[in-house]
């Protein structure tokens, strides 16, 4: 091809023409690309279907009457749509009440946890102080130690709460029982000892450590104090990461059984506990006579549990849809940082 006859491979040429000029490279590349996206689509659709299918199943099963459950000709679409099952589940799980309790407890706890974790993470990321390595090892330990290991002792601690003998002084020589109040759990949340809080500290510290130091230095030079630098300069940028931590905290608190069983069970009816014991209460609920329990068929049990799970998930999915924008932004924002 001589220089004077050079033709730019433009958009006005047909694909095959361009392909011929590139000596088959274009076709090869295009095929590779298509094959790649087909494989990707297959994989994704398969996995997504696997995740969604049980949810769809739960959804459709929830509307069936009991007779339809055993009818093998009915797979997904119920013959008669009924809302009666939902009514039963609502009654059994103490519905509006337990849901509201779960809502405010989750909200309060996760906000407290995220606030304290953010502060601690900032301290770890930005300051040098004695024993820093030791304390950070403690954060790792917090992630690693399963709460089961300390649950016996926590139980004892809060059943007979006594802060180094101080409480005993004011309460006539007797420790107080905190197990029936939400206070111990709030205390734990404020001091970053809640559910998986080590993970949040770790995540947030990673984020803060990645922010260029010059940003803060500029703020200091302009006369910003420590607190102002933290709240005005660092926090707004960290919002997406904080939001994702909040989301995790909320979700985990919402479905949590461990701390709820240990601290909240006695006083608050929480949805996760209601749901976990729904099978055992079913027999009594369906019997006419309050003192005797009937045996509820397995299919029926499964149906009601499915509805319970669905009710548990729906608010979380809605929350995710709302926070997703900040959430995704957090992921892309870490990309824009150096």
């Amino acid at each position: 091809m001589s220089k004077s006859k050079t033709v730019f491979i433009g958009n006005n040429k047909s694909f095959w023409d361009r392909n011929r000029r590139s000596e088959g490279y274009l076709l090869k590349r295009q095929m590779k690309k298509t094959a790649g996206s087909v494989i990707r689509a297959l994989l994704l659709i398969g996995l997504c279907f696997m995740i969604i299918q049980p949810m769809l199943m739960r959804f459709s099963v929830g509307f069936m009457v009991e007779k339809d459950l055993y009818d093998t000709t009915i797979v997904l679409v119920p013959r008669e749509v009924t809302l009666e099952n939902y009514q039963h589940v609502f009654n059994m799980t103490d519905f509006p009440n337990s849901m509201l309790n779960t809502l405010w407890i989750s909200l309060l706890v996760s906000v407290l946890q995220v606030v304290s974790c953010t502060i601690v993470a900032y301290g770890f990321a930005r300051y040098e102080f004695p024993l820093k390595k030791l304390w950070f090892a403690c954060v790792i330990m917090l992630i690693v130690v399963p709460p089961t290991t300390i649950q016996t002792s926590l139980y004892m601690n809060f059943a007979n709460f006594d802060l180094f003998g101080i409480v005993r002084l004011f309460n006539g020589g007797k420790p107080i029982n905190l197990r029936t109040s939400i206070l111990p759990y709030l205390l734990m949340s404020i001091t970053c000892m809640g559910l998986k809080n080590g993970l949040y500290i770790f995540m947030l510290r990673q984020y803060f450590a990645g922010v260029p130091k010059s940003l803060e230095e500029a703020a200091y030079i302009d006369g910003c104090g420590t607190v102002h630098t933290f709240t005005k300069i660092m926090l707004p940028d960290a919002m997406p990461t904080i939001a994702s931590c909040f989301l995790f905290g909320f979700v985990w608190q919402w479905t949590d059984l461990f701390y709820s069983r240990n601290f909240l069970q006695a006083k608050y009816s929480v949805y996760s506990i209601q749901l976990s014991s729904i099978t055992s209460r079913m027999g009594r609920y369906f019997s006419q006579d309050a003192s005797k329990a009937v045996v509820v068929p397995v299919g029926r049990q499964q149906q009601l549990i499915s509805i319970g799970v669905l009710i548990c998930c729906i608010p979380l999915i809605i929350l995710y849809c709302f926070t997703q924008k900040t959430f995704v932004k957090s992921l892309t924002m870490t990309g824009s940082k150096e």
Partner: protein
């Protein structure tokens, strides 16, 4: 300077907290004090709600603990009796422990692989990416707290599942089973295939367990600057090469985080039978000493696993750097 003691260095470090010396007023000391203020909630919480209970529970595991209403509890030292009870007397603890740990080893590897692949796919540009990401958030919800295992909790269901399985075995074509036979006939190590087939059979569980890991990997992938790929492309790197030379090394530090997280997650799940047993021993049988011993054994095994895997992974990751 011979009269300096070994603890003088520590004292020196702490002089920044004590007013009235030359170090106290330096900038370094000031920022150290501010830093300490920031992490004080954590220190208090850790000492009160983590260190203290841990020490107590460790002591409890060597004692016979009895509740005294209104007063607290009494302890009598029994040596290793509780550990003996947990390991040799309790009929279920041993079996459950071995089963769960074995399953965990397989599942951890599978989870890491699956979550990495999914994260790489979700990181690409394609139509409906937002929807796909939303769907892959569902496992985070579905694998947390009360939800896993809730549908398998009752014995009837187990019975039904057993029934369904035996039906499956007796008639009809079970694709994975026949494939399994075919491959085993071909003479390749049967043990390896057994592991792989259990993985394939439990793919749902694995995807469910990898919700957070996908998100962590995804955030790592997004942190890779696109200019790296551009440079590689200009230099004539193929996609496959740039995956192994750029993507993998850049994300591999997260491998450790995810690995540890997966192990812990598996150990703390509610449908984990060891956890259920410990809970039952604590609150129904009220054997606090035995339950402490059990959870310490359990924790010890978890720690050993984390130690081994982080050793292997840090070695593997180092070779990339």
């Amino acid at each position: 300077m011979n009269d300096r003691h070994w603890y003088d260095k520590i004292l020196d470090a702490f002089r920044i907290y004590i007013p009235g010396n030359d170090v106290y007023r330096t900038m370094r000391a000031r920022s150290a004090r501010t830093g300490t203020c920031f992490i004080i909630p954590f220190i208090i919480g850790f000492l009160l709600f983590m260190a203290k209970p841990m020490v107590e529970s460790f002591i409890m595991s060597f004692n016979d603990v009895k509740l005294i209403p209104g007063e607290g509890y009494s302890q009598t030292y029994v040596g290793l009796d509780n550990y003996n009870t947990a390991l040799r007397v309790d009929p279920e603890f041993n079996t459950y422990l071995v089963e769960e740990v074995g399953q965990m080893a397989v599942n951890t590897i599978a989870t890491l692989v699956v979550s990495f692949v999914v994260a790489v796919i979700l990181n690409q540009e394609f139509k409906g990416r937002t929807l796909a990401r939303a769907i892959f958030f569902l496992p985070v919800i579905l694998s947390s707290g009360v939800l896993p295992g809730i549908e398998h909790q009752n014995e009837f269901y187990d019975m039904m599942a057993g029934l369904a399985q035996s039906l499956e075995e007796s008639g009809g074509v079970d694709l994975s089973a026949s494939l399994q036979e075919l491959l085993q006939v071909s003479g390749v190590g049967a043990g390896v295939f057994d592991v792989i087939f259990t993985m394939i059979d439990s793919i749902y569980d694995i995807v469910m367990a990898s919700g957070i890991q996908i998100i962590v990997f995804l955030s790592g992938l997004q942190a890779i600057s696109p200019s790296l790929y551009e440079a590689a492309d200009v230099e004539g790197c193929s996609g496959w090469e740039s995956f192994w030379k750029i993507t993998f090394p850049m994300v591999s530090p997260l491998l450790l985080v995810n690995c540890i997280y997966t192990i812990i997650d598996f150990f703390m799940k509610n449908d984990n039978r060891v956890m259920e047993l410990i809970y039952q021993v604590t609150y129904q049988d009220m054997k606090f000493g035995v339950s402490s011993a059990m959870s310490w054994i359990y924790f010890g095994i978890a720690l050993a696993f984390i130690g081994i895997s982080s050793f292997i992974i840090t070695r593997a990751v180092k070779s990339y750097e």
